[in-house]
Symmetry: C2
DNA sequence: CCCCGATGTATCGGGGCGATACATCGCACG
DNA sequence: CGTGCGATGTATCGCCCCGATACATCGGGG
């Protein structure tokens, strides 16, 4: 999950950890909150051990302030195997749980995903949210009198959010089916379906 | 967090693990998805070690099917110290992160929380969601042209959800301030501000 | 009669998180 | 001019939670 996101970002350009975290936070910010260093660095270590990325002791750019001592910045770079791995993860759907942040991560890289996979992931997500929605409806209709007002309100709010997300997914799915893959308002700078290398 | 929720449920009545999980799933279902047994049982173990709850080898009720062998159901029960602990947790606000499920848990037990604490927690939550909302607005306004269409759409959807939650919280806060603590539509069976024992 | 789904208890490995520590850099304010 | 603070930057530790899995019992329907 984090592995997928990191590979995706490093696929675009090499980076050091701090920058990586910032990009992760904004890119995945919609479904996840902040990525902790306690997750980031161990994951980088794992990726490195698996051979998906390599570590380079930061080559100072033209404007680099001279880093006299050890512990300078470390730049991570994706390998060919890492790119393969990323392509593999691109078409694999996340697990079947509702609050899985994996959906948000996948969505964030939809520009690099082929349309069939996009559709599959969107529909999978819709199914899970619908299931959750039904569960909440059951609670609200069948057990309403056994719950206090605050719990009910919480349930109502959750149900509302589910319904809204289902509608959002419906729109995305319809849009996806009707040919034109990208979105409504703004132009993209990453043309889809163009795996480089 | 789980600790808090378990104490809250056992405060209402003793239960065994399976039932506990079901109740947790519906009660906290709005902000969290499902509680795993891999969390539940270790937490029960911890609570037991701390002395907040006790374990009773399931006394068979009148209709109990005779459980001949070992491994029958285990009923957990809150202790006096556990009730103290719960009262202590009731008035403590969760951590300062956005996607902290602690808010949902606290909210689920608002019927047992005094109004001042309710207000404090609601306002704390509002502040955090507002911060997140501002962050997303910045991304959308400042870095819009540097992101692909899907990432933008994800951001838009997240921003929308934040705005909606802020509005929801505003309503709850206003309602809370204007005297009448419970909610709008349905009657409650747990009168607030009545700590038993 | 037999199997299946619900009930029920429990463990294990893996991975994410908050807290924390530490070092450097640029700059604003006194 | 210097100093101290906030941003940049790397890294670890312990805690907790999750998904997968195993196992046992029970009621009922084919």
């Amino acid at each position: 999950m984090l592995e997928f996101a990191i590979l995706g970002l490093l696929h675009e350009s090499p980076m050091h950890g701090y920058e990586l975290r910032k990009q992760l936070t904004t890119k995945l910010g919609a479904f996840r909150a902040a990525i902790s260093y306690g997750s980031l660095y161990p994951t980088l270590r794992r990726l490195q051990a698996a051979g998906w990325i390599t570590e380079e002791s930061g080559a100072p750019a033209a404007d680099a302030p001279l880093l006299t001592n050890r512990r300078s910045r470390v730049v991570y770079k994706i390998t060919a195997e890492g790119k393969e791995r990323f392509q593999e993860l691109l078409s694999s759907a996340g697990p079947e749980t509702f609050d899985d942040p994996g959906f948000g991560v996948h969505f964030a890289f939809f520009a690099r995903t082929d349309q069939a996979t996009r559709l599959r992931i969107l529909e999978g997500r819709r199914r899970r949210v619908e299931e959750r929605r039904e569960g909440m409806r059951d609670v609200l209709s069948r057990a309403a009198e056994r719950l206090d007002a605050y719990t009910l309100e919480l349930q109502r709010h959750g149900l509302d959010a589910c319904e809204r997300e289902v509608r959002w997914l419906e729109e995305l799915i319809a849009h996806e089916r009707s040919g034109r893959p990208p979105e409504v308002t703004t132009p993209s700078n990453l043309p889809p379906d163009q795996p480089e290398q």
